[in-house]
Symmetry: C2
């Protein structure tokens, strides 16, 4: 709307630059471990200039966490709704969810880190909102998993989903940014691992 910039690659606005750098710094040193001066320096302005774009440091974290949660949920819901006609197999649906989550975990590693690390630094209202979005996202997965493995009790399905999130979100521990042996291979490996875990949950005897 307000930006009549070239429709090309959508030049990153100042706000977006700030959010991106803040995410990186928060992930590296923690919310309390990063000063506003550092965030400003990372985008070329210094210190209190940030307050032209955000009402405070908390607001940056809040916008980051709410944004992540909303995008994750929206992505999951989109993939499920694409299957509204029910023509896809439950396996394919679960694969789609896994693939989407892996894309996210590989492309936005700082955000993944923040997502379960700095949630407690939010104001009550924001924290509740993020938790709600997270819960809804989990429920999307649980529904698909239980569709695929009807014999799996609900609480086990939920615990399994949380555990698989832990597995997929391990990407920040896999070495520094470029150390991965190829994004495609890593994604494929994580996918296999996740499917293996779900399979073990749903078909215990196969172990």
């Amino acid at each position: 709307m307000s930006t009549h910039a070239a429709a090309r690659v959508a030049a990153p606005t100042r706000r977006e630059q700030i959010l991106k750098e803040a995410a990186r710094l928060f992930a590296e040193r923690g919310f309390h471990g990063v000063g506003v001066d550092e965030i400003g320096a990372a985008v070329g302005i210094s210190g209190p200039g940030l307050y032209r774009h955000f009402p405070g440091k908390d607001a940056m974290l809040a916008e980051l966490l709410v944004g992540i949660s909303e995008r994750l949920l929206a992505g999951g819901q989109l993939r499920v709704s694409e299957d509204a006609s029910g023509d896809r197999s439950p396996e394919a649906l679960l694969d789609a969810l896994i693939e989407g989550h892996i894309d996210f975990a590989l492309d936005d590693r700082p955000l993944i880190t923040l997502h379960d690390r700095e949630l407690d630094r939010l104001r009550d209202t924001d924290r509740k909102r993020v938790r709600r979005l997270q819960r809804e996202y989990v429920e999307v997965w649980v529904a698909v998993v239980r569709d695929l493995y009807p014999a799996l009790p609900e609480h086990e399905a939920r615990a399994t989903v949380h555990a698989v999130f832990g597995l997929l979100n391990s990407t920040p521990h896999l070495g520094r940014p470029g150390a991965l042996p190829g994004r495609t291979d890593t994604a494929a490996l994580l996918h296999r691992l996740a499917r293996g875990a779900f399979g073990a949950a749903g078909e215990p005897k196969a172990v």
Copy 2:
């Protein structure tokens, strides 16, 4: 040694009380989010009284993280060395590692949280030491996994181990302390999931 106390249940010394409460508080609100006054209050003394037991706040975190890493590594090495005669199957050995890690993840949830969350707050020397211990622990697992699945390339084995750690360490997300549907069942489920993931890593075609 210095404590000639009753051999009974080993009455917790002040230092141990402090470490336990500090671990809980650090896990709940982050290292920088907790003040020394709070830690003191949690053990019945207030504020600077802590400095009779620790040279500083950093030292508490360092002792916690080094302690965790050492216990994890020692536990893993012990389980492997028990098999020095080689009479146990690789499967049983991997199961023993998984079981030990699960016990740890279920019994010391705050420490698990700290373990990968507050590492960067340590002084260089302590951080390097913890990283070294963590790396050695990973290598113990990698050796066992590659023994079980010789066809698995080393970097994939290592990534898989990290991912399974993420899976097992998801216990803090499984609801508040008492909400687990029975410790035994949770442990069994996590064990199945981990074995499923390893199996998928080692036998890709089975998927």
